[in-house]
Symmetry: C2
């Protein structure tokens, strides 16, 4: 009976996500190395594993770690520099000019660490990121012990990382051919958007993704302008164009999709495309609203992303999925849409499916990796707790996250990232802030 384990976690409640709608009360999770090895009643656990350390979390809920399927982490350095502007004004007149002057490996390293720290403090254990200098973001997530899909950007425009589309693809291939030495990370291809990638670029991306068996992450149908421009240019809506180019398949992670007709919803479903919904960024930039109720009704897998902190302005997955639920209820006039347990599923299991990692993460099951998030519900402002999952989705924010484990390691301990040099990061952020403010004052 006395199997060897490393430690026990004994919260008040566990919401394992699989089985669906289940909440375990007074159960413990036993962790052995990086893996969940047992889930059993706490009184049995304490008897069976007397010698293992027990992390007792009264008044706390344990869930699978949250999965943020779309971010540009380094842009946290640009949080709040240009609010309340429409997307193309925001990008063309603010974000791109600042990026052109400043983005380099150290910007990406420091900015990604800033974002990673906020994500972990908010219960996020896995992120799909997309930014220039992917080697630098990879190092940043590795320094924090976070699980990540690192997107290799592909654009036809010159930027500080690569000179043209061919150069992006060449640099990307070098990265793909290098041996991965971090089991927490994978690479993907991130063609930026239909308007910034050529047909040849998409064909090459499709070919490379197939050969390397990797995912493709793409901003798609983000605004009505994108649709109109594509119609003007090639007579096709972007989704039809990329379908012709061989991108519309189960390897595709399509982000935003605020403009969809019913035929397009059918094609997304039929081709098993994964959808990344970023409601707060879409709302804040006035881009449109992704019809997730319709997508879910067709069994499309919908997961949740925050997008960057520059258009959100936080990286809080609980607030993000609450917004997804509220927005869906509002536009359908149906309060039963995207109920609390669907929300929890979207930020855990659906995120795992989106990344192709559902056999490893996304639920609390024996044999899965110990990516876990604990939420403290002891505050009077969360009382009374009738359903911990309702409280999680409709009341909690990042501020209530207490502990986070990734791959069995306790990364956040009682709200502290104890092993990380926070003063050093704060000092670097302050230096970037001065540089960015000085640049922005010349723009405005």
């Amino acid at each position: 009976m006395s199997q060897k384990i490393d430690y026990l976690i004994s919260p008040k409640w566990i919401a394992p996500v699989i089985p669906r709608s289940c909440v375990l009360e007074d159960y413990s999770v036993a962790v052995s190395q990086s893996t969940i090895s047992k889930i059993l009643p706490t009184n049995e656990a304490l008897k069976n594993f007397r010698e293992a350390p027990n992390i007792s979390l009264p008044d706390q809920l344990l869930t699978p770690g949250f999965i943020n399927v779309h971010s540009h982490a380094a842009m946290s350095l640009l949080r709040g520099i240009a609010d309340d502007r429409n997307m193309m004004d925001w990008l063309s007149n603010w974000i791109w000019p600042i990026e052109e002057k400043l983005v380099d490996p150290s910007f990406v390293l420091d900015g990604t660490q800033l974002a990673g720290v906020e994500m972990i403090m908010g219960g996020t254990t896995t992120v799909a990121d997309n930014y220039f200098f992917p080697e630098a973001s990879s190092s940043a997530f590795a320094s924090l012990g976070m699980r990540a899909q690192i997107g290799i950007p592909v654009l036809k425009f010159k930027n500080n990382w690569a000179s043209d589309e061919r150069d992006h693809l060449a640099k990307g291939l070098t990265l793909l051919n290098r041996q991965q030495d971090n089991s927490l990370q994978s690479l993907s291809l991130s063609p930026h958007a239909p308007y910034s990638v050529t047909d040849e670029g998409f064909l090459r991306v499709a070919e490379l993704a197939k050969k390397k068996k990797i995912k493709i992450q793409l901003h798609l149908h983000e605004t009505s302008q994108e649709i109109q421009d594509s119609l003007d240019e090639c007579g096709l809506r972007p989704l039809a164009r990329i379908e012709n180019l061989g991108i519309l398949n189960r390897s595709l992670q399509a982000i935003h999709l605020t403009q969809l007709n019913s035929d397009e919803i059918e094609r997304l479903a039929k081709n098993e495309v994964h959808v990344g919904h970023c409601p707060e960024s879409n709302m804040k930039l006035g881009s449109g609203i992704c019809p997730i109720s319709d997508l879910l009704a067709k069994n499309v897998n919908v997961a949740i992303g925050t997008d960057s902190a520059a258009s959100n302005n936080d990286l809080d997955m609980l607030q993000e999925v609450r917004t997804a639920s509220f927005l869906s209820k509002a536009v359908t006039n149906d309060a039963s849409q995207i109920a609390a347990e669907d929300c929890l599923e979207m930020i855990t299991l659906n995120g795992a499916k989106f990344l192709g990692l559902e056999h490893k993460i996304g639920s609390i099951e024996v044999g899965k990796l110990a990516d876990l998030t604990a939420i403290d519900m002891s505050s009077i402002a969360l009382k009374p707790v009738y359903s911990p999952v309702s409280q999680l989705i409709y009341n909690c924010t990042s501020a209530h996250i207490s502990n986070v484990w990734i791959d069995g390691k306790r990364i956040l301990q009682n709200k502290e990232l104890s092993k990380f040099n926070m003063p050093e990061l704060e000092r670097k952020v302050d230096i970037w802030k001065e540089k960015i403010m000085s640049l922005a004052s010349k723009i405005s």
Copy 2:
């Protein structure tokens, strides 16, 4: 030069709301008794008022206290008992049956204290409340030292407080004729909704409000069903009906208004009606969306309410106004709508105008009452801070509120309500929880 003051507050930034768009850095507020007596640079303040205690708040922003213009505070006891249900199902099959069994003065006292504690912890200093047993909610807010408008409910339906419309009005008159002994409180009349108040009831409410010079708070055009039912019953939309009954004027605080045509927007503007926008409750109940951009364009005063925690499920004014901004940007497809400084104005000055208290509260100005909220922006997850007002609106939640003053008294001190018996309240909430769960299990 050495005027007598009680204490200084010296934050990093002050956003006084008047003048608009102003952020003061390294300024102090001097408080004498209940009043703001001076606003001056901190280095001068420390020289001029050497003997006064100085509350130094580095990395913190000071704003006017937040004003929540629509709540049913006691319903915090029902937080999360019946989520993801449409409004009439939620009310008729869950909320009303539970209320019928349980609502009494002690339910209202305990529930209102629970809500008041959450509100203060979230930076709210003033609330307009509406519930049965208004004497009990009045006592609860008084016990916390909160500023409140206490609504006297008027309904044609029997409930635990009154037997019919006439009985509500008689009980209301008794309350109105009683001498008010709390300078922090005022009374209003709260006819529940067009579908629950008769023409005679509205006429009597209009007459009483005029005579007593008090406000009228009314749920109006909350759902499309309400409009249809009214058309079926009397051939008029509710707004037209209450206009005929003499209610549509500057004393009216109209809540929700998710269904408005352009003619109705004109009439609200012309009659100087105040609008209480509760975006999260409207979204969560699938009721509809109030067109606040259109209302603000016509100079209608729009303030923000959380509604009850049973349909929200929190009482966090920062999240509420962020949702108002995001929703408005989304439905207008215009990211410049309801910018951060408009948001701050809506939860402070517009709330004060809504309550007829703009000469006393709603901005940080010399001579106004010291209702103040401090927000701690020292967390790494809020960095970098380019604009403290942007950070407040787009990043902060209740969790960042550090200190709250009401009428010059420091009610929240470093996140603690130190003078309030919290364990006693928690014990009472636990007892109500058991009773409510047992009732709900019989319903479900």
